[in-house]
Amino acid sequence: MNTGQIISGAGHLAVIGWALFGGAFRTDPPPLEVVEATAISAEDYAALLAAQGAPEAVANVNTPEPPAPGEAAPVLGSEADSPPILSQPEASTTPPPDPVPSPPEPVPSPAEVSDTAPEVSPPSEDTAVLVPQVSPRPKPRPAPRVAPEPVAPSEPDMRVDDVARPEIAPDAGAVIEETPQEETAPEEATTEIVTEAEEPRDPAPAASLRPRARPARPEPARTETTAAQPGLQAPPATDSAAVSDALAAALGQGAPTPERPAGPPLTAGEKDALRVAVQRCWNVGSLSSEALATTVVVSVRMFETGKPDIASISMLNHSGGSAAAAQQAFEAARRAIIRCGADGFDLPPEKFEQWRDIEMTFNPERMRIK
């Protein structure tokens, strides 16, 4: 045992001893208030009370004089009150009887609590007792033109054009001269052919679907299984395309090869713009049924102005129809390229090498079902 331990033990003992015997655990009682008191007897107490409360006696009292005999009784000056008019209370209409309260719905007795969790079954989609008349899917309005996007009818005096242009009227006060431009609008269009039998008879729905029950709480996400579940909606193609393009750009896959120096690849938006520009002029309305079942691949070489080289337009191959049908389909595709490229497609000049040669596959499958 060394010196330190001895000193420590002694110190501890000293502290414990002081605490036990020095009054560290003893609390002093609060000081008492001392009041002086005198003891008296009951007789003295009663005498003391009587001396304080006894009233003084009154000797002289004024009494009223009695009336003289024979005097008439005094006339009462006040008029007699008129009898009160009794007004009959208005007959009040009998209030309707209170509705008979419906008997309270029996409260289901609480189920016995069990340790096992109840199985939650997902609500059925067709459990309505009264099957409502399903409101029909809104049908597009019939229009002579069928296009990917519906177009509302324009003003009667407005010129029809492939694109909508605002009116530019010459302004006399303007310093900068603007070229006057007639206001135009695309022709009225619907998204699919609407036959007479399919025209909506009454736009108002006869009934609406019963609200669906709240769906069951989803299972905890398990990414490895949900990805393979059928029926899940795929994300929009444009998003995936954009993501793919972004990934491709990030990974450097879009870099041009040394043999073909060019600007950066066309973005998904630029490709979509070109696609939309062509399909706006791709009129399949005059094609035969067989031509509508024929897919043609058309090659075109572009000028730097964004205009197609008409002489370069050729059909590379076709599928799904005869040679004659393919020729009809090719001619419609060629008209689309030439017509909508007459003013030049909106393509980035710095990426000319990327779009100098274009192969367009015209697949009319979706147009057949319209």
Partner: protein, 441 residues
């Protein structure tokens, strides 16, 4: 080890090569959405090579334009909008002028009278935006009073070259012309051009006539007449208007006749002892053959284009439905299963569709379905639509539409098989029971 390395190198090559090839190739796009709208076409008046051909030159161009726009597939650009004028049939076309007015097709032509006084018409078709001629120019020669047929033939060529389908303008329709009040309506057989022109009456109004049917060659007509008080089938020669009743048994009623594709056999319904069945008759010999023996009503038969099958209407399932069986009879296969009542089926000349009448929820429809009953689509809806008949190219259907009420009247209508372009066929009075004939020679 060496094999493993070679395999690895090959795999890396296959993995890398497509990417580099894609980078070096053209920009590739897939166009899947387009528009469906009438094709703008310019049909300036034909050039009159001789003063006597002036009216023909103008009228022929007008009929061509009417034929094309009547299909709903073309839209004519009015002459007032034309920038360029066709002064000579052989002068070069100023495509820029026609492009400027968005004309996608251009039809030019010239008309003259030859030494024999016959009409000579020449025409060309251009793809304006491609700046080239579609096919080669043609020349047609005909009598002056046949100028409408010349115009129809030109229009058929234009239609065929642009759409890829056969035309139907140079064709005729046989129908029942109706006149008088509804309770005393007179009915006569009549024949007209497909557009309502050149009406000729084939019978008088002394007897009720029903359901005329053109022969495949268009030179004969089968129809049902109540001339004897009972319905009987007659065969009429269009050129001579001569007719004869087909043989039938006493006490029977024969109706709903239709030619076989070869024109030698008549397919019809025969009611005997209160039961209606299908029969065929050899026209030359008059010999009949029974095809069905069911206790139900079988009627409205129609051959497939190859003559191997028959589609007909039967109520054997309780309500009138459509069935298909072999041309010689036998087991029938039901093809209509939708709600309502189906009737008067007609096989398309292409063989891919069957047109029919459907009654459902108090309305009548003309519809089409695949031969297996799939893809049913109703094209029309009205108080009473019935009796479809196909255009020679299988693209258009003509039918009867009758309006409601005491003043109601039957008229002929046509509609594209897509359901578009529903329009009335111009006739002088009431008209019903159309039968579209073949293209004329």
């Amino acid at each position: 080890m060496m094999r493993f390395l070679l395999t690895l190198v090959a795999a890396m090559t296959l993995w890398v090569f497509p990417a580099t090839a894609q980078q070096g190739g053209p920009l590739r796009l897939e166009i899947t959405e387009g528009v469906i709208e009438p094709l703008p076409v310019a049909v300036p008046d034909f050039v009159a090579d001789t003063p006597a051909a002036q009216d023909y030159a103008r009228n022929i161009a007008r009929v061509i334009a009417a034929d094309l726009t009547g299909t709903g597939l073309f839209r004519e650009i009015p002459a007032e909008a034309h920038i360029s004028r066709i002064a000579s049939f052989d002068s070069p076309v100023q495509f820029a002028d026609w492009r400027a007015i968005n004309a996608q097709a251009l039809v030019t032509g010239a008309v003259s009278l030859d030494g024999a006084g016959r009409l000579v018409a020449r025409f060309r078709i251009y793809d304006v935006f491609a700046g080239q001629e579609l096919g080669r120019g043609q020349q047609l020669v005909g009598e002056r009073d046949g100028w409408r047929r010349i115009a129809h033939k030109v229009a058929d060529q234009v239609y065929s070259r642009i759409t890829g389908e056969g035309g139907y303008f140079d064709s005729r329709v046989v129908f029942v012309a109706e006149s008088g009040p509804k309770d005393q309506r007179a009915k006569r057989l009549a024949i007209m051009d497909y557009d309502g022109a050149n009406v000729q009456y084939l019978t008088d109004a002394s007897a009720i006539v029903l359901a005329p049917r053109f022969s495949p060659t268009g030179d004969r007509v089968l129809y049902t007449s109540y001339e004897t008080g009972f319905p009987r089938i007659y065969l009429l020669d269009v050129a001579s208007v001569g007719r004869r009743a087909l043989p039938t048994m006493e006490g029977t009623m024969a109706f709903a006749p239709r030619f076989s594709p070869d024109g030698r056999t008549v397919l019809y319904s025969l009611t005997q002892g209160g039961n209606t069945d299908l029969f065929t008759m050899d026209i030359a010999s008059g010999a009949s053959t029974r095809l069905t023996t069911a206790p139900s009503i079988e009627t409205a038969p129609s051959y497939s284009p190859d003559g191997r099958q028959i589609v007909f209407e039967s109520d054997r399932s309780g309500t009138p439905q459509l069935y298909i069986m072999g041309a010689s009879g036998g087991e029938a296969r039901r093809i209509s299963f939708g709600p309502g009542r189906y009737g008067t089926p007609v096989w398309s000349p292409r063989g891919d569709l069957i047109a029919f009448t459907k009654q459902s929820k108090g309305r009548f429809h003309i519809g089409v379905m695949r031969v297996d009953g799939s893809e049913e689509r109703l094209l029309t809806a009205s108080f009473l639509d019935e009796g479809p008949t196909w255009a020679p190219n299988g693209r258009v259907i003509m039918f009867t539409r009758e309006t409601q009420g005491a003043q109601g009247e039957a008229r002929l209508y046509s509609v594209d098989i897509t359901g578009r372009n529903l329009r009335q066929v111009p006739t002088q009075g009431g008209a019903s029971d159309p039968s579209w004939g073949p293209l004329q020679n």
